[in-house]
Amino acid sequence: MKVRVLFFASLREKLGCGGEEIDAPPTVATVGALREHLRARGGAWAEVFAPTRAVRAALNQSMAQPGAHIKAGDEIAFFPPVTGG
């Protein structure tokens, strides 16, 4: 299942990557499972997506909870808590 994944701010810098297309296995059915899938890559990925890290997610450009279901073609973004205004 192909999805587009984006990273912003400190996540983008630590991962050295602003986004990529991922062919996720069928077991990766939610935003939370995708986060875990990325964490399992190890190295900087394990650090950025450690369970203790505050990471927010958006699914197709709306804020999403870890339980939100994902499907092929979705755009999922991961980023730190926002600091605009």
Binding site: L6, A58, Q61, S62, V82, T83, G85
Partner: protein, 141 residues
């Protein structure tokens, strides 16, 4: 309603004049946020940022009488004292205009995808989210 996420600076006076063309409008409340004494870079999520600000404005319009509204938020490199954000809300009376303006700013600070990176003599660092900004939302529940 106007929402703009842009690099360029804005002119609050011009934006308020543009908003007040309707003769049923009796009040325009506005807010401008400025950079303090630290140079910064603002990153955003093109598309989602505009969409989330529109959702916040729609939510405000569901709670108060909002006859027109302009929100402009800048991104990119910003010097000390530069303008970052403006919100202007027009209504028949001031109560709705003040409340909706503050509501939009409180939600924008915690919901719209922007991230500030500060540049000091010691280097660059991403700004941490503040718990007090989340606290500010509770008064609107």
């Amino acid at each position: 309603m106007k929402v703009s996420v842009q690099k360029e600076d804005f002119d609050l006076g011009r934006e308020v004049r543009d908003i007040s063309g309707n003769d049923k409008i009796g009040a325009v409340a506005s807010f401008v946020g400025l950079v303090r004494d630290v140079r910064m870079t603002l990153e955003h999520y093109p598309g989602m940022t505009e969409g989330s600000i529109r959702s916040i404005v729609d939510e405000a319009a569901g709670r108060w009488q909002v006859m027109d509204c302009t929100v402009i938020h800048r991104y990119g490199d910003l010097e000390p004292n530069a303008q970052i954000v403006m919100v202007a809300v027009a209504s028949a009376h001031r109560g709705d205009a003040f409340a909706a303006c503050e509501f939009i700013m409180d939600y924008l600070k915690t919901q719209a995808p922007f991230w500030k990176k500060e540049h000091t003599a010691g280097g660059a660092a991403w700004v941490e989210a503040r718990a007090s900004d989340d606290e500010a939302l509770k008064k609107w529940k």
